[in-house]
């Protein structure tokens, strides 16, 4: 349960999310391909973290729940790395 003192301003978070979408679009239009891709994925990460911490209240939760997000992501990262030799640096 989140008391008022613990409640994020959901609307302000929404404004940030919307703004970040526009930044992504701006990046894809104005930046070079490589820079755009990097910025766009960083922005996506920031948006995801905003939703996780504020809308999903992870900011106010115990460490166990953070682990439930981080560990699966690490596992996916292992998979991505291991797939690089066979699919990216390929035949």
């Amino acid at each position: 349960m989140t008391s008022d003192a613990h409640r994020p301003n959901y609307f302000v978070v929404w404004l940030w999310l919307v703004g970040l979408v526009f930044i992504s679009i701006g990046a894809s239009v104005f930046l070079s391909k490589g820079a755009a891709i990097l910025l766009i994925f960083l922005v996506a990460l920031v948006k995801a973290v905003l939703v996780l911490l504020n809308y999903m209240h992870l900011k106010f939760e115990r460490p166990l729940l953070y682990a439930l997000v981080i560990v699966p992501l690490l596992i996916v990262a292992v998979l991505v790395f291991a797939l690089f030799p066979d699919f990216v640096f390929h035949h």
Partner: protein, 547 residues
């Protein structure tokens, strides 16, 4: 017994029944396979001729059934469901209705898999590993709906076990009785939750991969079809990324069963309780980075061979520790040998052999020669059969009184053990040599190859032993069914064990305990100086301290 019960004990028995049914089906498929291998192109008694396509189907379904419809439901779902709430001192699982749903989704998965035998084209025949391109297009195997239903059955099974995993983990985290800290949990509970975590976190990529395979077959995508820009190797990675943790998902509960039984019949604490837990967690983490040892010969980047060989050798260390801990538990103990203990020690000895051959398979240079031969088949039967059947039987004989309120017959049990042990080894020891002699997996007729013909007498020997191994299960079936109704009535704690399930009635009440237990100590205080008896239950209040 209500059929749509939410009681975890009933649901456990439902999983057990369905698992035992599939074990019989899987065993009968063995009969077909082994007869065809020993006497190719002759009529199998009780069946008829086996065409090569049908042989592929038998091999595929034997593997699929044993891994997903026998080992998982019995070791995880049945034992986990029955034991976890009882051992942690809870009344039921955290989500009883979700638990009921998980069983019925599994029952639906079973129905779908059973149906796949009867559709035109028959059941799936691309191996239990379902590699594309063979599995990606119906015309390659001649099997259309069978393979689609196979994918659907697996998907439903995964959903069922994901739901079960959520229940096991949440229950163990939140519903422990007062005083039941994590480091007072019985080891089988640690094993079950580690297995649940491994399953929950590793199955995702295979679900993704299976969705992709189903789409290739039904919707026309080309994820795995080279002619459309796809890559078959992608499936292999996604499959084994799950497939390797999966074998530990099966193994850990089996080891947990042995770890519960050994102290009771040694009247001695488990040696190395915390090291075993840490080793289990380490092995669990390592299990996510060994998977490509199944792919050394797949054409994957050869630079992956060394790192995956190293991680595979390293993962043997925590398991070796657990094995040594088991042996140390037995060391200088007051050992008795009723049937559960025989099967527990049997599990240990057979698992050790399987673990040793794993070292050979896991080293890429050796695997170049033994990959896809019967040496691998021998290896995984030593590890999986010990975990599933020897440990499974150990658990059934041990907890039967608690589950059903009757004792099983000891004489039939001992006969069952010795026959199973002898014939299991008679089947699978020679199989190592057949594999080293070059016999490939999944071939329907070894006699077609000149270089295999000298090995054929061994194949015949294996088949005869296999038939006897199947027949050796008859004493168990008789014992199980007879004891359900006519076995000696069991008291609460016939073996004077410490864990909480033995404080409940046999079988327990709907809400398990007459009073919420309070836990004061670890589960393995046998021959403790604090007790006049050679056992000391977890919930017995400590003696008043001397002032």
């Amino acid at each position: 017994m209500k059929i749509f019960s939410t009681d975890h004990k009933t649901i456990a028995k439902q999983y057990l029944s369905l698992g035992l049914f599939w074990a019989i089906v899987g065993g009968l498929l063995t009969h077909l396979m082994r007869w065809q291998l020993a006497y190719p192109d002759t009529e199998v008694p009780g069946w008829g001729f086996i065409a090569p396509d049908f042989y592929n189907m038998v091999v595929t379904m034997h593997g699929t059934i044993m891994v997903f419809f026998v080992a998982m439901p019995i070791l995880l779902a049945a034992f986990g469901n029955f034991l976890i709430p009882l051992m942690i001192g809870a009344q039921d699982m955290a989500f009883p209705r979700l638990n009921r749903l998980s069983f019925w989704v599994f029952a639906l998965a079973s129905a779908v898999l059973l149906a796949s035998f009867f559709v035109p084209g028959g059941a799936a025949s691309a191996g239990w590993t379902g590699y594309p391109p063979l599995s990606a297009k119906a015309e390659y195997t001649g099997v259309n709906w069978g393979l689609n239903l196979w994918l659907l059955a697996l998907a439903l099974e995964f959903v069922s076990f994901l739901m079960g995993g959520i229940n096991f983990l949440t229950t163990t985290i939140n519903l422990r009785a007062p005083g039941m800290t994590f480091f007072r949990l019985p080891l089988i509970v640690w094993m079950q939750i580690t297995a649940a975590v491994l399953f929950m976190l590793s199955v995702g990529p295979l679900i993704a991969g299976a969705v992709m395979l189903l789409m290739d077959r039904v919707v026309g995508t080309t994820f795995y079809l080279p002619e459309g820009g796809g890559q078959p190797l992608l499936w292999q990675h996604l499959f084994w990324f799950f497939g390797h943790p999966e074998v530990y998902v099966i193994l850990l509960p089996g080891l947990g069963i042995v770890l519960e039984i050994m102290p009771v019949f040694s009247r001695k604490p488990i040696f190395g309780y915390r090291p075993i837990i840490y080793s289990t967690i380490a092995a669990g983490m390592l299990s996510f980075i060994v998977w490509a040892h199944h792919q050394f010969l797949s054409g994957m980047d050869p630079r992956l061979a060394m790192p995956f060989s190293i991680t595979t050798i390293v993962i043997s260390v925590p398991f070796a520790l657990i094995v040594f801990a088991m042996i140390a538990t037995l060391w200088r103990a007051s050992i008795s040998f009723p049937t559960p203990m025989l099967f527990a020690i049997g599990t240990l000895s057979i698992f050790i052999i399987g673990g040793l051959t794993g070292i050979f398979n896991g080293s890429a240079p050796v695997d170049i020669y033994i990959h896809d031969t019967y040496f691998v088949v021998a290896h995984f039967h030593y590890t999986l059969f010990s975990a599933t059947f020897f440990a499974g039987f150990a658990g059934l004989y041990y907890w039967f009184p608690k589950m059903f309120g009757h004792m099983m017959n000891e004489i039939l049990g001992k006969i069952h053990f010795w026959l199973t042990f002898i014939f299991f080894n008679a089947v699978f020891i020679p199989m190592h040599f057949v594999g080293l002699g070059g016999m490939m997996r999944r071939i329907a007729n070894p006699m077609q190859y000149d270089f295999l013909q000298p090995l054929q007498p061994i194949n015949v020997f294996i088949t005869v032993a296999a038939i006897f191994l199947l027949l050796s299960q008859i004493p168990f079936v008789i014992n199980f069914l007879w004891s359900l109704f006519r076995g000696r009535v069991a008291e609460r704690n016939p073996r004077q064990a410490n864990t909480l399930e033995w404080t409940a009635l046999s079988p327990p009440l709907h809400d398990n305990f007459e009073r919420v237990p309070v836990v004061y100590r670890s589960p393995y205080e046998y021959s403790s100086p604090e007790s006049p008896e050679d056992w000391l239950p977890q919930d017995q209040p400590p003696a008043v301290a001397q002032s």
